[in-house]
């Protein structure tokens, strides 16, 4: 069975909600839409305070080529355009909408009927994806229309569908595979058409045998789409590791793109959003979020309207346990800590995880004992102990020489360190500085 070659770790899977059918969370009282939910320029509001909007009404337009539209997920009145603290921990501009009823844009097909074919051309499909505000839903939030138009000098031969879900606790993609298999396969065909490619591989880790079996039976009659079970290892859901696991090809160091080895990777959640946008004319206004944590009385998978405050999700899952010490947007390896439960669900919110206080507090940091476990764990073949020390000593040159910009911030090193050193904190700091130095150097030349 395939997997990536270098490093990797095996965190406890903790998939508490793998068997929980997706439930629909009621519409919130107020929905909040940060204007930066994606990589690239923030979106620009195209509504004003007091405007009436419907479910699916566009409320912000792309702020550039690398940007994405934002649509209202609720009907009601624009209460204000203000700021909100999002998962980044920073205060960012956002549109607040007070909910009144649940009126949808009439152009959206809300029926359950499976739409198999579309007459749209390649360009029309890309335009449709762009208009729907779709971004990578695995968490990186890269605008999808940009990713589907790789530079012309690369020839793409393989579309990889990322259904790995290697983060512990999260089961949103797993449920989507089980509950929307037909839609996903249509979505894959749409993307194949856009890319002009005839081979797609769905990568699924072996801990989801039900999803592997279902996707296999659904794709058995479809030529060009293959299901590939992968050996469990974190961070297999990382784009570069997944490409290597599936094709054996290694993407060269940054700034090289996956397209340089002939691959485009799309998360399975993104594929479903593309189906809905292209076949049902539905913009990206909701997503599946895993609400989980060992202390929750009712951990679950919820279909949530964008902009719903996290507190609504936790309430539905049984309320926040007394001993909660940390609230995380995303998974435990790469998710972001939330300052409180008022943060809204965004396009990249794959999960809401509550950790008990005992697990949340970091333990005391000790001397590095040079056990080399971080070097063994790093999936990029880096030396985290060295990069962290270079960062502590502000030796940016040493950090750059030792490939710091290749770090994917997966957290394997820090989660392995017996001395509990905050390796990734230091590496992030140095990455930031070295990135600035490289940009300044390139600007000069």
């Amino acid at each position: 069975m395939n997997t990536f070659k270098i490093g990797g770790v095996h965190p406890e899977p903790c998939k508490l909600t793998a068997d929980r059918k997706t439930e629909i969370l009621p519409v919130p009282k107020q929905a909040v839409f940060p204007l930066s939910q994606h990589i690239g320029a923030p979106a620009v509001p195209c509504v004003q305070k007091g405007d009436q909007v419907l479910v699916g009404t566009r409320i912000a337009e792309p702020g550039g080529y690398m940007s994405a539209s934002i649509h209202s997920s609720v009907s009601g009145k624009v209460a204000k355009i203000d700021t909100v603290v999002d998962a980044s921990g920073q205060r960012k501009p956002a549109i607040f909408i007070d909910v009144e009823g649940d009126e949808w844009e009439p152009s959206i097909d809300r029926s359950d009927k499976l739409v198999l074919q579309s007459t749209k051309s390649r360009e029309e499909i890309i335009e449709c994806i762009k208009n729907a505000g779709i971004v990578g839903m695995g968490g990186a939030c890269f605008p999808t229309h940009v990713k589907l138009c790789p530079p012309k000098d690369f020839s793409i031969d393989t579309l990889i569908i990322n259904a790995v879900e290697c983060e512990p606790y999260l089961t949103a993609d797993h449920r989507l595979l089980l509950e929307q298999a037909d839609q996903i396969i249509i979505g894959i065909k749409v993307i194949l058409k856009v890319l002009g490619v005839d081979r797609a591989v769905i990568g699924i880790e072996e801990n989801k045998p039900d999803a592997i079996a279902l996707m296999r039976s659904k794709t058995s009659m479809v030529s060009g789409i293959e299901v590939m079970p992968l050996k469990m290892k974190y961070p297999q859901g990382s784009e570069k590791q997944l490409i290597e696991a599936v094709t054996g090809r290694q993407v060269p160091p940054p700034p090289a793109l996956p397209a340089s080895v002939g691959c485009v990777v799309q998360n399975v959640g993104t594929v479903f959003a593309i189906y809905e946008a292209v076949m049902k004319n539905k913009p990206l206004i909701d997503r599946i979020v895993t609400v989980t944590g060992k202390g929750l009385s009712n951990p679950c998978n919820l279909k949530v309207r964008m902009g719903t405050p996290v507190s609504d999700l936790i309430e539905y899952a049984g309320g926040m346990p007394e001993d909660t010490g940390k609230l995380i947007s995303g998974g435990p390896m790469m998710g972001r800590p939330l300052l409180d439960d008022t943060a809204p669900v965004c396009k990249g919110t794959s999960g809401v995880l509550l950790l008990p206080e005992a697990e949340a507090a970091r333990k005391e940091e000790r001397n590095c004992i040079r056990c080399a476990k971080c070097v063994q764990a790093c999936p990029m073949g880096l030396e985290p102990y060295l990069l962290a020390t270079a960062s502590e000593q502000s030796d940016w040159e040493c950090a750059e020489e030792n490939w710091i910009m290749s770090c994917i911030e997966c957290g394997c090193c820090q989660s392995t360190c017996p001395s509990r050193r905050p390796l990734l904190d230091w590496v992030r700091l140095a990455k930031n500085r070295v990135g600035g130095i490289i940009r300044a150097r390139n600007a000069k030349n």
Binding site: G325, G335, A361, K363, R366, E383, L386, S406, T416, R420
Partner: protein, 328 residues
């Protein structure tokens, strides 16, 4: 929301590994060898080991408490390992005051002078051993012969070890070959030598414990052992009269103890698998050179210390294979 939340960046979970867990496994892995040496050398083995561990713990506590004025680091158990390893490198009839002096040098000079665990460039136990070897060469190079449980401590009967004999044979005294114990005796440990080094079987059990508990990787022990096997194998092939069967080299002296427990010390060994292999090859090479051409019968301690010194350079040379790196 009533709860106060921790805000720290990812990763939010940890595998649970600790310094203590790794150290505990090393201690467990050393136990079979201690057990074996008790059966070979009697109570002397236990007296020397207990004295060494107690002195190492005392000096570490004393130095952190009164000289560095820091929180005690005894809890990390590394001083216990240094104590056991120092004892394992001594003959079982070593006088107590010498052991205490060795422990002081091992902990004081070998470790704490550099800032404690993690900062020492040399294996502390070997620093202590080499200090004793230079200070008390007569005591350090006469080893009790195996006398079983009834053996006495200080006035134990001493005799030639297999390594002495191997040296004599290579020096032309081919008659010494008749005194060499059988390979079975060597494997079980019914031979003269330092406390911890005699039983190859017990040391290999320790290696299995270390590998299965993922405390160490195979790279260092395997590269040392295979280098010694290949080099002594070539010499044996060229002249089997002067140079003994390589199995004798593998099973005698401190080779296995060094390869499994001393060279694999986290702090003083290289960080990348490739570096570990080169480090192991270096140790194997130096050991064979010292054993055959040096004036000491055993070269393991010196070989490890020399390669400890080279470790920072190895870390600079041997980088891991980077993801996406194109072969030049």
């Amino acid at each position: 929301m009533a709860q106060k939340l921790y805000i720290s960046t990812s990763p939010h979970i940890h595998c649970g590994d600790t310094i203590e867990r790794n150290m505990r496994w090393v201690i467990w892995a050393l136990m079979p060898a201690l057990f074996a040496s008790f059966f070979v050398f009697g109570r002397g083995a236990l007296i020397v080991t207990a004295t060494s561990v107690a002195s190492c713990l005392f000096f570490e506590w004393f130095i952190t408490r009164f000289l560095l004025k820091r929180k005690s680091t005894l809890g990390d158990l590394s001083a216990v390992i240094t104590g056991i390893l120092l004892a394992f490198n001594l003959p079982s009839n070593m006088p107590l005051y010498m052991i205490v002096m060795g422990a002081l040098v091992a902990i004081g000079v070998g470790k704490m002078a550099f800032g404690g665990l993690g900062n020492n460039p040399f294996n502390p136990a070997l620093v202590g051993r080499v200090f004793l070897l230079i200070s008390f060469p007569a005591k350090m190079t006469s080893w009790p012969v195996p006398a079983g449980l009834a053996a006495s401590y200080i006035d134990a009967e001493t005799g030639a070890t297999p390594l002495n004999l191997i040296g004599q044979i290579a020096g032309g005294n081919t008659a010494a070959a008749d005194q060499l114990p059988g390979l079975g005796e060597l494997f079980m440990g019914n031979i003269g030598g330092c406390i911890g080094e005699v039983s190859a079987l017990a040391l290999l059990v320790g290696l299995a414990v270390l590998l299965l508990s993922k405390t160490i990787t195979w790279h260092i022990p395997v590269s040392i052992i295979s280098t010694v096997a290949v080099l002594t194998g070539i010499m044996w092939f060229v002249n089997p009269v002067l140079y003994v069967n390589p199995l004798y080299h593998l099973l005698s002296g401190g080779l296995l103890l060094g390869a499994i427990f001393m060279a694999t010390d986290y702090v003083t060994s290289p960080m990348t698998p490739k570096g570990m292999v080169w480090y192991g090859i270096g140790i194997g090479l130096l050991t064979v050179i010292i054993r055959y051409f040096g004036s000491y019968p055993e070269g393991m301690s010196f070989a490890i210390l020399i390669m400890n010194a080279v470790t920072p350079l190895i870390n600079n040379w041997c980088k891991p294979k980077r993801f996406g790196e194109v072969e030049k």
